[in-house]
């Protein structure tokens, strides 16, 4: 089959799966919705519009954003294991959220704001540090990332140590496992502009991102101002990731897994693969969230499910790769 046709097929399939997962996520929940009464102003309508719909949209948005950002990180770092953790987004956001819970009572808005600020600060610190060290290029950023990560982790541990174990510690732990339980329409509208703007810029820069994936010297001799462009792309990917996790808490594995799924399917490094990774991420996270709220008697944090769901899927694809 021709590559173009195959790609169209993958996209069609991804859209169908994502659409099905979206519908399932709207339909499944603790409160059974009677669809015939949706138009009337009643309990069903309120549950649908204030709980089910924003939650589902957020899961889709988060999965899509994390999948794309993950693909971008992997391309720019020329490393299939690169993930938001590598440049400190996750640990910075966790430290920010922990600080909000510990010192400011853990209000929803404030936790989100501090988590976002924490993630961005950590990444800015990494990029600034990488500018000063002698080791240039990607290696410098990775080393700076290790240093900043270690620092933020120790700050986080210190905060956990002083936290009240009954409430605060539990809240911090719960935050780092991610959940869509508290998503509201307001939260969704809060992050949507940031995520959309970040993704739009990444889409527009897609050729430059691929060129960065060639490595420092090749990219430079093809006219890419490597230092500045790499910073810009990493900050955009961080903006997208940071916005999402500030609302949901840490969501593990999607950013790493979705690009691999897309790449194993298309076997191509073109940017369309990264877009497919976004759809894969959206579908995975929707399914994970449906499971998170239906497998137990109470809600399970979503990160537990993403890993449980993602690992077999990845193994299956790797198995196919070996025999294909």
């Amino acid at each position: 089959m021709k590559t173009g046709k195959k790609l169209a097929l993958y996209f069609a399939a991804a859209l169908v799966v994502t659409g099905a997962a979206f519908a399932a996520s709207l339909a499944v929940g603790r409160y059974p919705i009677d669809w015939t009464r949706l138009a009337a102003d009643g309990m069903d309508r309120r549950v649908f519009f204030t709980l089910r719909l924003p939650r589902t949209c957020m899961a889709l948005l988060a999965g899509f954003a994390l999948g794309i950002a993950g693909g971008v990180y992997q391309t720019v770092f020329q490393n299939p294991l690169a993930a938001p953790d590598i440049i400190g987004v996750s640990s910075g956001a966790s430290a920010g959220a922990a600080a909000a819970i510990l010192f400011f009572g853990g209000g929803v808005t404030l936790t989100a704001l501090l988590a976002f600020a924490g993630g961005m600060t950590a990444v800015l610190a990494v990029l600034a540090l990488a500018g000063f060290v002698r080791q240039r290029g990607v290696t410098g950023i990775v080393l700076a990332g290790i240093a900043v990560n270690a620092l933020t982790q120790s700050m986080l541990m210190l905060m956990k140590l002083t936290a009240d174990p009954e409430k605060q510690l539990a809240a911090i732990e719960f935050w780092t496992m991610g959940s869509f339980a508290d998503v509201t329409m307001q939260k969704l509208w809060g992050v949507l502009p940031l995520v959309a703007a970040g993704l739009l810029c990444l889409f527009l820069l897609h050729r430059q991102i691929i060129l960065l994936g060639l490595g420092e010297e090749d990219a430079r001799m093809l006219g890419v101002p490597v230092g500045a462009m790499r910073c810009a792309v990493l900050l955009l990917a961080t903006l997208v990731t940071g916005s999402v996790v500030s609302m949901t808490g840490l969501i593990s594995f999607i950013g790493l897994l979705a690009p691999h799924i897309a790449r194993l399917l298309t076997r191509s490094s073109r940017f369309s693969t990264t877009v497919l990774a976004g759809l894969a991420g959206g579908a995975l996270l929707l399914v994970a969230d449906v499971l998170a709220r239906s497998i137990g008697s109470s809600e399970v944090p979503v990160s537990i499910v993403t890993s449980l769901l993602g690992v077999p899927f990845l193994l299956r694809l790797m198995w196919g790769e070996r025999n294909g």
Binding site: L205, G215, L222, G223, R267, S268
Partner: protein
């Protein structure tokens, strides 16, 4: 007069280690210059210094009277087509995608290559290798075929100066000659200056307009092929390769190992 590149008293190296010392030469429009020298003599370092990839703390490098040092990375990429000795391209892209990357310096960061770029890329592929490669995966090609594709990527933007680091190293006998013949015609047609390094002295003797001979980071000789004799070539090449003999064969010269030992 129609001088394209002028290099004066250039010193370059990696950190504290000086590889290139006090190198001066120039390249004219339409001229194909071959850089010859043993391993570690500074061929690659010279090309990399001109591209700004290796530190060159002393000396001046002027391209049409504009200092290469002061150029922005984009401007430099527009003016110089550089083919590295090894490419790190490990991305699963089509050959066409790879060649079109060469158009990037002329495009804005959000812009994509247009139909004219595609047409030129296709024509280059057809002339240098095979038009049927365009849709093939770059990683599915052989080492030599990849080298030709990267060569096409270097040429697609028609920069006035080409710096080619062993562009023929992975090519078979026939392709090597075809490439050099094509390159020589291209340089004359487009009035581009070409500076290429090679370990194949016979290729250089046959196609170059001028030889630049490097030993231990110094320029130890220059030979204009139009004025060369077997004797002068033998003397010059012995400085870099040790005892060699140069024979005349029709209009061309051939180098072979001397039997001094």
């Amino acid at each position: 007069m129609d001088e394209l590149l002028r290099v004066e008293s250039l010193c370059a190296g990696y950190g504290q280690r000086r590889v290139l010392r006090d190198v001066s030469f120039s390249v004219r429009r339409g001229e194909l210059c071959a850089l010859l020298g043993a391993n570690g003599s500074g061929k690659s370092t010279l090309l990399r210094a001109l591209c700004g990839l290796t530190d060159a703390p002393e000396g001046c490098m002027l391209l049409e009277a504009e200092s290469l040092r002061d150029m922005s990375c984009r401007r430099r990429a527009q003016r110089i087509g550089y083919l590295a000795q090894r490419s790190t391209c490990e991305l699963a892209l089509s050959v066409m995608d790879v060649v079109l990357m060469g158009c990037n310096p002329a495009l804005g960061p959000f812009q994509k290559p247009g139909p004219e770029d595609r047409r030129r890329a296709m024509a280059l592929l057809a002339e240098l290798g095979d038009a049927a490669w365009a849709e093939a995966g770059y990683l599915s090609l052989s080492e030599g075929q990849r080298q030709l594709v990267l060569f096409a990527r270097t040429l697609v933007r028609r920069s006035p100066l080409l710096l080619l680091d062993e562009p023929d190293s992975a090519l078979d006998y026939e392709r090597r000659h075809r490439l050099l013949r094509w390159l020589k015609a291209y340089a004359q047609r487009e009035e581009a200056g070409v500076l290429l390094s090679s370990h194949d002295a016979n290729i250089a003797l046959r196609y170059a307009d001028r030889l630049l001979l490097l030993r231990d980071g110094r320029l130890v000789g220059q030979v204009h092929m139009a004025r060369a004799t077997a004797g002068s070539l033998e003397e010059a090449l012995t400085k870099i390769y040790g005892p060699v003999e140069v024979l005349r064969h029709g209009r061309h010269f051939l180098m072979t190992r001397g039997d001094a030992e």
